[in-house]
């Protein structure tokens, strides 16, 4: 057995981004969110992921901008550390080791050097009780700091991060748990508790769900299970506290936030509607409906310009303060289960699986981004519990990615099973799939397997579906017979059966010449060309669970797993069993680009992975306990670029990557050490330099400067590059850098300036001549100008030679430039004469 060495199971992509409240940076340009074991930095305008802050070794459970430095962010994790990051450059600054799992993090500007975290009491991981602890962060230059100075602030708090909030200026902290609200004043070191009755006469449930504090007034907003929002005031009295009740939500309020000015209160919940209440005029409210899924968190940017809402379907919506959606960051949509297999779209290399109800989602693994959702069912989804609706249960692509076959079914209790087989053609123009054929009721019973013929050279595409009704059907694309205007559509080509047994799975050989269909214990091999039953293979006892043809050099092998813990390999040339081994394989997969096969075995509640070649008796790789529970969905995703790994155990990862879904719906993959290092390196290279605000002035000046920097690299092509220079830069430079008292009159300059902004239509050839003529005289004069310019420019640019400045003179405005220069000379002489 080969030890797995440096191969590790990691979360790579597709992790939850709605787990905790996202953070918007002070300038509203970045959005940070906890995503599995890392922190992602998104751009709020482009929705792109800019950085992946990696370092935590367990789930990240909280994010918080450092109150004293808005360019740094704290993250806390269940691994017991708090890390401080520079998110603009993606650098880990410090790691504070707390030593026990942290569930959420809070801080306020009022408490310098102190962060507040929620940990379980008694340092017991399983304990159901949580406490709020103040952590004094030691001032130290080290990267790794032990923070052991903990002091409990509040005992018995909720582990829900929404249930604790800092009040005005950090003077008090509010915690809600169950039916009790606790307000702790730091100055007086006194806490006030207010309890509500469990439920009132009208059946309202008063359990606290979330709290928020007004930034300027002493007002606490609490959300409740029955959808009510209470605004508490006067809570520094035991008895004379008061509250008013707002009621719009019909089910629990899951998040509440005040805008930074305190003029509005935002609330969200199950209804997937963002409600904006006017503070002190609560009868006025704005709604942002149809946000797609239940709101789990609301975040507001420090300047109040942006809101963002996290949704239960792993989505973050960025909303402008005028209550308009401006961007949507969509993660991998995960329901309770995936009913279709994981498949990879050959065209976009995207992972395809169930997404929103009735949809297939295309998820780019490389970019960790949802590409699009394909509506398969094309019916309105009704949010109602207990209502049976159409679900996509099977999906398959053909080899080229031109065809997509989907099966949707609906099983209502008393009614018959409704089945639809849909075939989708890829449309080059719209770059998406278009419905070609809908076959309603393709089989009489549930479809158990479906596969396309993967032969590359075959003339026609063929789809085989097997069903519990005892038949397997082959579907073929055929030109429409009767009408001319309709394109080709799919129709049934062959119906096969074997001893009225129910077929379980089917598989085409790599060249498409053979089709294997398993009928319980029997594997039948058919020729798709003639629909002849070629041979039957059988290895009782136990029905066949998975079938797989070998690839490339191993294409003579057919592998199958049975329910009686047997992995068999048949040689198709001899039609005999080559080898078999006893293992409980829950999933057998073939790598489409190599001979390798992967088998997930379930043993004692854990899943082990074996990677092997059918021709070799020894597994290439094995990994014990990749995850707990049974793995039923996995896929080999071909890599975009080959990995150069020489180690024997990791060679199987060179051409493709193996992704699998754990029973808890986490998408995991295998990674090598080399790959990780490469990823780390690439992420650290990225440094963004756009610290200058994008003003029109910046566009004029900055572009010019940028251009010039480029020119410096190619000093030889100095003059050739001139054409690209922005027009008008000379005039602006003249305007800005000549002292005001020596400038000609504004009316004169103005017309010139306006002219310089116009697009010149001068003949380029003429210009070139012009340029050559001018070269000599220009050089002398611009030396002095260069001096002037560099005195004002940034020091790092000063190292560049004086000649660089010459590039600043664009040929298109040469005429004007000359004019100006002449005028300046005139002016100077005039001045000199005066001085004389």
């Amino acid at each position: 057995m080969v030890e797995h060495g440096d191969i590790r199971v990691v979360h790579r992509g597709g992790s939850k981004i709605d787990f905790r409240e996202p953070v918007i940076t002070n300038d509203s340009r970045f959005l940070l969110c906890a995503s599995g074991e890392c922190v992602k930095v998104f751009s709020t305008s482009t929705e792109e992921c800019i950085h992946n802050l990696q370092g935590h070794t367990d789930l990240v459970t909280g994010l918080l901008l450092k109150p004293s430095n808005h360019l740094q962010v704290y993250s806390c994790s269940a691994d017991g550390t708090v890390r401080l990051w520079d998110f603009t450059d993606g650098i880990l600054i410090k790691t504070y080791v707390i030593g026990c799992p942290i569930y959420s993090i809070y801080a306020s500007a009022n408490h310098e050097g102190i962060i507040f975290i929620v940990t379980s009491t008694l340092n017991d991981k399983r304990s159901e009780l949580f406490q709020l602890v103040a952590v004094h962060l030691p001032q130290s230059g080290d990267q790794l700091v032990e923070a052991r100075e903990l002091s409990a602030v509040l005992g018995d708090v909720s582990c829900n991060p929404e249930a604790i909030a800092f009040g005005r200026g950090g003077e008090y902290i509010v915690s809600a748990k169950g039916l009790q609200l606790e307000v702790y004043f730091f100055k007086k070191q006194k806490s006030y508790r207010f309890s509500l009755k469990e439920d009132n006469k009208k059946g309202g449930k008063n359990t606290f769900m979330c709290v928020a504090c007004h930034p300027k007034d002493d007002c606490i907003a609490t959300g409740h299970e029955d959808g009510k929002i209470r605004l508490w005031r006067n809570f520094n009295h035991k008895k004379e506290y008061t509250y008013c009740t707002l009621h719009w939500h019909h089910s629990a309020v899951s998040s509440l936030r005040f805008t930074p000015e305190g003029t509005n209160l935002l609330s969200g919940g199950m209804e997937s509607v963002l409600v904006q209440w006017r503070y002190n005029q609560e009868s006025q409210r704005d709604f942002l409906p149809r946000l797609g899924a239940a709101i789990t968190h609301i975040a507001v940017s420090p300047d109040g310009a942006l809101f963002c809402t996290s949704h239960a379907d792993n989505k973050i919506t960025i909303i402008q303060s005028c209550v308009k959606v401006s961007a949507v960051i969509q993660g991998l949509v995960k329901g309770e289960s995936v009913s279709s297999d994981l498949i990879v779209d050959p065209r976009s290399k995207a992972l395809v699986l169930n997404g929103k109800p009735g949809h297939l989602q295309f998820y780019s693994l490389q970019r960790d981004k949802l590409l699009f959702n394909l509506d398969i069912v094309q019916q309105e989804y009704i949010h109602e519990s207990g209502l049976q609706q159409f679900e996509v249960v099977k999906a398959a692509f053909d080899a080229s990615g031109n065809w997509l076959a989907t099966v949707e079914e609906r099983k209502q209790k008393a009614a018959e099973l409704e089945l639809n087989l849909k075939l989708w053609a890829f449309d080059e123009q719209t770059q998406s799939f278009v419905l070609n054929t809908t076959i309603s009721a393709p089989h009489e019973a549930r479809i158990t397997a479906m596969c396309f013929c993967h032969a590359v050279d075959s003339q026609t595409t063929m789809l085989v579906s097997t069903s519990k009704d005892g038949h397997f059907k082959a579907w073929q694309l055929a030109a429409a017979a009767h009408t001319e205007d309709e394109g080709p559509s799919w129709s049934c080509d062959f119906v096969g059966a074997y001893h009225s047994l129910a077929p379980e799975c089917c598989c085409f050989s790599a060249d498409g010449s053979l089709l294997a269909v398993s009928f319980q214990e029997v594997v039948t091999v058919w020729s798709p060309a003639s629909w002849e039953l070629l041979t039957t293979l059988s290895q009782p006892p136990g029905a066949v669970r998975d079938l797989c043809f070998g690839r490339l050099s191993c294409s003579k092998y057919l592998l199958g797993t049975t329910e009686k813990n047997l992995l068999c390999c048949w040689n198709l040339l001899t039609c005999s069993l080559e080898w078999s081994t006893s293992m409980d394989v829950s999933l057998l997969l073939a790598d489409p680009v190599s001979e390798n096969m992967a088998a997930f075995c379930c043993q004692e509640g854990c899943t082990d992975l074996f990677v092997f070649k059918p021709s070799e008796p020894r597994p290439l790789f094995s990994h014990k306990a990749v995850c707990s529970g049974k793995v039923t969905r996995a896929v080999f995703a071909p890599r975009e670029e080959m990995l150069e790994s020489c180690e024997e155990s990791s060679q199987w990862l060179n051409r493709s990557q193996l992704y699998f879904l754990t029973p808890y719906m986490d998408l995991m993959t295998f990674t090598t050490k080399a790959e990780e290092q490469r990823l780390m390196a690439s992420s650290q290279q990225l440094v963004i330099d756009d610290s200058v605000a994008m003003t029109p002035f910046y566009l004029l000046l900055g572009k010019h400067r940028q251009q010039r920097e480029e020119d410096q690299d190619s000093l030889s092509g100095l003059f050739a590059e001139r054409k690209h220079l922005p027009q008008g830069s000379v005039a602006i430079k003249e305007l800005l850098q000549t002292p005001a008292h020596v400038l000609p009159s504004t009316s004169f300059l103005c017309s010139m300036f306006v002219q310089s902004l116009l697009v010149s239509v001068t003949d380029a050839r003429e210009e070139k001549q012009h340029a050559e003529e001018e070269m000599e005289s220009q050089k002398e004069e611009e030396d002095s100008e260069g001096e002037m310019e560099f005195s004002t420019s940034r020091p790092e640019e000063a190292s560049v030679g004086n000649q660089a400045a010459e590039s600043a003179a664009p040929p298109l405005t040469k005429a004007q430039g000359r004019e100006l220069r002449r005028l300046k000379k005139l002016d100077h002489s005039w001045l000199f004469s005066l001085l004389d």
């Binding site: 005005r168 007034d217 002493d218 005031r233 004379e240 506290y241 008061t242 509250y243 009868s283 006025q284």
Partner: protein, 691 residues
């Protein structure tokens, strides 16, 4: 507890009248309440919200506003008159015509020297309050449009007047308007309608708070005349406002039946600048809240749905006490039903007529809980319309059923009923009535009562005196006036003549109970005065003990022979009543005795009736008060252990009267609240979620 045949009477279709106005006298803790039919009620908030006095209404008198000036009560209405009431004789004292058309509001300054009335013609009329009268002083500058609401600044120099579309502030000295605050109209369809400023409050910090028909509660700066804040409270009207005495809390009543509280709260801890913030919303009414009062500890509201609701503010009272319970006062705290025990007749009193019913009969016996088949249906014998425009204030039916008397503010009428046997012809020819000639002295009465042998009529008169009139077939003759020695000027509200004709007990609102000896026609004794007002009194037919129940639910028994409290009463006081008994929120309005078992006292309030068995041990305060159903299910030895004197029956609800007839059948008169609710006009439409 014994088994009774019960006449479950549900044909008394008593309909209380809507509440129109309220005024709270903070000094004496009395609330005056005006109903739509012109009747006035006075509640004593210091004494368990007991309805102390009742001034019957009058046709054509619609009270629109009430105002206390010291201990004097004034009202004004759309008939254009200002009335002062005589609270000792329970009648209007005098009426002054304001000559300004209908009066919408009256308000007095804090000094109690001037009464301002807002009239339909746009004038604010100032009346000087003199010792015995009020006198017109002058008009403030006349405005266009009616004056709907008025509020004095506590200094007495400024008056704010709510009008159509605007609020005006007047200088009370010069009479000129100093500010004109324009009130915004509603949005949408109501844009074209004038907005009515229904209510206004002028606070000592010169903040003016207005409630208007567009559903807004607005805070204005009275010095500059600028709008400070608008709270949109309802889609309908804000009809009433009330401010607490310390001006830290404000309540607004709306047409939706909600009462919205605003509090004057500093926005952040430790800071001085305060702001009016909307806080709680109470919904205890189904219809318009027309009148509001804000006491120290509670919000009192009343409106179209006829109930007076006392909603305690939980931040001002101790939790889980009697004070912290919500109270709804739906029925008057005195009996409107009179039962002729011997004849089996019931007299129902309405404001403008009386109804005499004969109880039905049934045959056979059934198990407890069975309903028996009715052999003879109950029938209405007489419907007697009152004469004159004054409403009936009290009525009585003699035990034999031969006499009927009622009184209004201005007259007392006595009728003789004659039955021509029990044949069917009764229905066709009603019993003949003949008005007896009454002695002149009997011109008004607060309470009427017949002696058990129907030979005497007792009528309570002014200064707690009782007039005794002898009745016979031919004539009625004035006999005597019984006067207590205390010299109390308060009216007698309870009268009870003993079965043997020897004693007459009277109770007045000064909490005094006097017992007169009718044989000697003089005062026999005075029961020691208890702090709470008696709500029901009765004299035991055999033992001649006087049983009294007070507004604070205490029960006393006084022996008339020994002139002292009985042993049982002392024991009850020593041991104390069970908390569950004390916490009931409706007073006991009637006491009867069971002739079969002299130890039984039958009491009832609105929600239960109770048989107090004096032979059984009293319940311990700390133990559970077992009801009869659970006691019945217990095994014998335990039942005896847990048995207690208070046998409470809650099978019948919303009781108007419980009485025991001579044939030992129980008459229970119910008036279900649902029936009253169903007779109310339709409430404003409100959108309900998921409809």
């Amino acid at each position: 507890m014994g088994e009774f045949k019960v006449h479950r009477v549900r044909f008394f279709d008593y309909m209380p009248s809507a509440i129109r106005a309220m005024a709270l006298c903070r000094r004496s803790e009395r609330l005056a309440l005006a109903r739509a039919d012109g009747a006035l009620e006075i509640f004593n908030f210091a004494d368990n919200y007991f309805q102390e006095k009742l001034i019957p209404g009058q046709d054509g008198r619609a009270v629109e506003a009430l105002c206390w000036v010291g201990q004097r009560l004034f009202s004004a209405g759309l008939n254009g008159e200002i009335t002062e009431y005589d609270l000792e004789n329970l009648r209007p004292k005098y009426t002054v015509e304001a000559y300004g058309g209908p009066i919408w509001t009256i308000s007095t300054n804090s000094q109690g020297t001037v009464l301002a009335a807002g009239c339909e013609d746009g004038t604010v009329k100032m009346f000087e309050i003199l010792e015995e009268r009020i006198q017109f002083q002058r008009n403030l500058d006349r405005q266009k449009g009616r004056i709907i609401s008025l509020s004095w600044h506590p200094s007495g120099t400024l008056i704010a007047a709510g009008m159509m579309d605007m609020i005006r502030i007047f200088d009370a000295d010069t009479g000129h308007a100093t500010h004109r605050l324009l009130v915004e109209r509603g949005i949408g369809a109501s844009k074209s309608r004038e907005v009515v400023v229904w209510s206004i409050a002028f606070l000592s910090d010169h903040t003016i708070i207005s409630g208007d028909s567009a559903g807004k509660v607005q805070m204005w700066d009275g010095l500059t005349g600028t709008l400070v804040r608008t709270h949109l409270v309802t889609k309908w009207d804000v009809l009433a406002l009330a401010v607490s005495q310390d001006e830290s809390s404000l309540v607004a009543g709306t047409s939706e039946g909600t009462v919205v509280q605003f509090q004057f709260i500093s926005s952040s801890v430790g800071q001085q600048d305060k702001d009016w913030v909307r806080t709680r919303t109470f919904k205890n009414h189904s219809h318009d809240v027309r009148a509001l009062a804000h006491t120290e500890t509670a919000v009192v509201s009343g409106g179209m749905d006829t109930q007076l609701v006392v909603r305690p503010l939980l931040d001002k009272v101790e939790k889980n006490t009697q004070e912290s319970a919500l109270r709804k006062i739906a029925f008057p705290h005195r009996s409107l039903v009179c039962c002729a025990k011997k004849a089996g007749l019931l007299l129902f009193q309405f404001p403008d007529h009386l109804e005499l019913w004969r109880l039905g009969e049934s045959e056979g016996h059934g198990k407890p809980g069975d309903s028996l088949a009715v052999k003879r249906k109950p029938e209405k014998l007489i419907q007697l319309k009152r004469k004159g425009e004054d409403h009936i204030c009290c009525s009585a039916l003699s035990p034999c059923g031969g006499w009927l008397a009622y009184a209004t503010v201005s007259s007392v009428r006595l009728y003789r009923l004659q039955f021509n046997n029990n044949n069917i012809s009764i229905t066709k020819s009603p019993p003949s009535l003949q008005v007896s000639k009454l002695p002149k002295i009997l011109h008004s009465a607060h309470q009427l009562c017949f002696s058990s042998d129907s030979s005497r009529l007792f009528a309570s008169s002014s200064h707690s005196s009782v007039i005794v009139v002898a009745l016979s077939q031919s004539e009625c003759k004035y006999l005597h006036t019984l006067k207590p020695k205390s010299g109390s000027r308060q009216p007698v509200h309870l009268l009870f003549a003993s079965e043997d004709g020897k004693w007459l007990a009277t109770a007045n609102t000064d909490c005094e109970i006097h017992v007169h000896n009718l044989h000697k026609l003089k005062l026999h004794c005075t029961v020691p005065v208890y702090s709470s007002c008696p709500t029901a009194i009765a004299i035991h037919p055999t033992t001649s003990n006087l049983v009294m129940v007070h507004a604070d639910q205490q029960i006393f028994e006084f022996s008339l022979v020994q002139k002292e409290y009985t042993e049982w009463s002392r024991k009850l006081q020593r041991q104390g009543l069970h908390p569950l008994w004390v916490q009931r929120d409706t007073p006991v309005t009637h006491i009867t005795f069971n002739p079969e078992n002299p130890a039984h006292i039958i009491l009832h309030d609105m929600f239960m009736f109770c048989i107090v068995d004096q032979s059984l041990p009293l319940p311990e305060a700390k133990t559970l008060l077992y009801n009869q159903m659970t006691l019945k299910s217990l095994p014998e030895p335990e039942r005896i252990k847990h048995n207690h004197a208070f046998k409470i029956c809650k099978n019948f609800q919303h009781l108007m009267c419980v009485s025991l007839l001579e044939d030992h059948s129980l008459v229970v008169v119910e008036r279900p609240m649902l029936e009253i609710m169903s007779q109310l006009p339709a409430a404003v439409r409100q959108k309900k979620f998921a409809t």
